[in-house]
Subunit: 339 residues, 2 copies
């Protein structure tokens, strides 16, 4: 049963169970601090494909297939798949998942898409609309650079505020049956928040206000504080956006510094890997969640985790036309252990 | 309560109620046979905006605002808005709906997006996740031409199979309370279907197999036939795709010719308006549904309507890379009169 709590939070009485999850990473990501946690690590950035777009599709297909295998499920056991990516018309999802023949619902929340897709899957499972549903997202550095900034061959300079789009994918399968180690307890879907940032090389600053708004709203709705959780994982604010998030929350007398981490800060070694402000992309928060975070939840090192993914809802066209960058953040409360 | 019926259909015990709906149309659409049914008709294709993208955003914001007014609701009365469009990164929805401050869930199903968004809103309302939820989509001929084909200034020739992207938007507000004239009774979300069509000027042919698959699946799941319905409305197959749909269904001994119409065939006068195979775009099926169809349902001229919107899930990049065009179709069963 789904109960509305406060202004904007959904509470799940049963709590859809994470039956399995999987993460797939590219070369740079595999060389980072989470390299040992990914299910699949690729040496070849093209993944054997003829284009970067094919490579990204392959990432997404692979992560859901590994998740299916881990749960001993076949594609026909799935009722729905919620998927999205950053590419125009979400083609990584379409081409990567086409062969599975699972009823398909394309989601677009930019880099917040994993939280959006997971929240959707949770509503569908908890309501009985689905017995099992999957959430999957991806991003690829090379396809994203070509589309959002410059083709790699141009060799453009990156300012210190820029983030590095992750070549990665993460997938989660939710179900009603079974007693998996982790459950989705609550979801807060966010509003579009736009404080007028228009620098497409400073996504963290554009998204931080959305994260602050959704996190504050969740605490209000559920009468909780950061102390009630083991980890508040945003993704992907990077260094600039994370610092701005602290400032925005502290104005409201909420301090999360001791509990916070960010997918964009975890994926790479920022000292050694030259990624400037951190990682980003639909595949960043998805692969961080589906590797170290869910592993630590499975092992009960983490019990209560807020996953607040963030997205910048612009396009190159809107930026060229002088529009600001609207942000959004969706929040998922995950709990390990049986309630 | 949501019950799964057959392999892939959701049956709603209560059935979310359409509290209101609205349609907004551009100049060419207003001059067509449905001109008298739209809530707002624009003479200025730019809608006073500085870009075609701003114009499209304005269409979408306007349709949801008119729907809110009709239901005497304020934006803060809405729990969720499900929205999408054809533009890269769905910017029409983001910028058109940003100011409403309603929790926002971006949907991408190409021209099937209105059915997807409406189905999502229905699941959220029926499950109790939302008290009220909205579905809204848009498209604009000029922004779509620039993005998917050629800038208007190029003056490219259009083959006879090509469809004309509608400059239009439609919005629907669903709720649990009240006894509105029309309810959502059932939903079948579709699978990606790809028979290898790769001609981006023949979308109807690429989408018809998806429509056939979803419609046949629904009849199987619910043990119904075309005779059980007053209208089967696809959108937007146009002339080529509609004929192909008849052929595909008749191979399975299902004849819908007497019950069928297509948003892409209804929006324009194909004899006089030079649109070749018909209309298309996220705004086409949405504006046809939210004008003549729902009016006739309200007046009980139509009681049982299947709305099966179709989408072509390609991008210019995937087409340039030689990929085929995957199609998808989502189906909504709408019923007027109280059950």
């Amino acid at each position: 049963m789904i109960q509305r709590v406060g202004e904007n939070t959904l509470h799940f009485e049963t709590g859809p169970c994470l039956l399995s999850w999987a993460s797939v990473a590219g070369k740079k990501e595999s060389e980072g601090p989470l390299g040992g946690y990914f299910d699949v690590c690729h040496e070849d950035t093209a993944l054997g494909g003829k284009s970067w777009e094919q490579a990204e599709s392959h990432l997404q297909g692979e992560s859901i297939n590994v998740a299916l295998q881990k749960a001993s499920l076949e594609p026909e056991d799935m009722d729905f798949i919620f998927a999205g990516d950053l590419l125009n018309q979400c083609i990584s999802s379409t081409f990567g998942l086409r062969d599975l023949q699972i009823p398909f619902l394309g989601q677009y929340g930019a880099c917040s898409t994993m939280a959006q897709a997971l929240g959707m899957a949770a509503v569908f499972v908890e309501s009985g609309a689905a017995r099992r549903a999957a959430a999957v997202t991806s991003s690829h550095f090379c396809s994203a650079e070509r589309q959002f900034r410059m083709p790699l061959e141009y060799g453009g300079q990156r300012p210190p505020t820029a983030q590095w789009t992750a070549t990665a994918s993460g997938a989660i399968i939710l179900g009603r049956e079974g007693l998996g180690p982790v459950r989705v307890r609550e979801v807060s879907f966010g509003r579009i928040t736009d404080l007028g940032i228009s620098d497409a090389n400073n996504m963290g600053a554009a998204m931080a206000p959305a994260a602050a708004s959704t996190i504050l709203g969740y605490f209000r709705d559920t009468n909780t504080t950061p102390e009630d959780f083991d980890l508040i994982l945003t993704g992907d604010l990077g260094r600039v956006g994370s610092d701005l998030l602290y400032t925005l929350l502290e104005k409201e007398n909420v301090t999360i510094r001791q509990k916070h981490n960010d997918g964009g800060l975890m994926l790479y070694d920022r000292e050694k890997q030259d990624v400037h402000a951190g990682a980003s992309g639909c595949g960043c928060s998805a692969s961080v969640l589906c590797s170290i975070i869910l592993k630590e939840m499975e092992e009960k090192k983490l019990r209560k985790v807020l996953f607040a993914a963030t997205g910048a809802l612009m396009s190159p066209t809107s930026t060229q036309q002088g529009e600001s960058i609207p942000g959004i953040s969706h929040l998922i409360f995950l709990e390990s252990g049986n309630p």
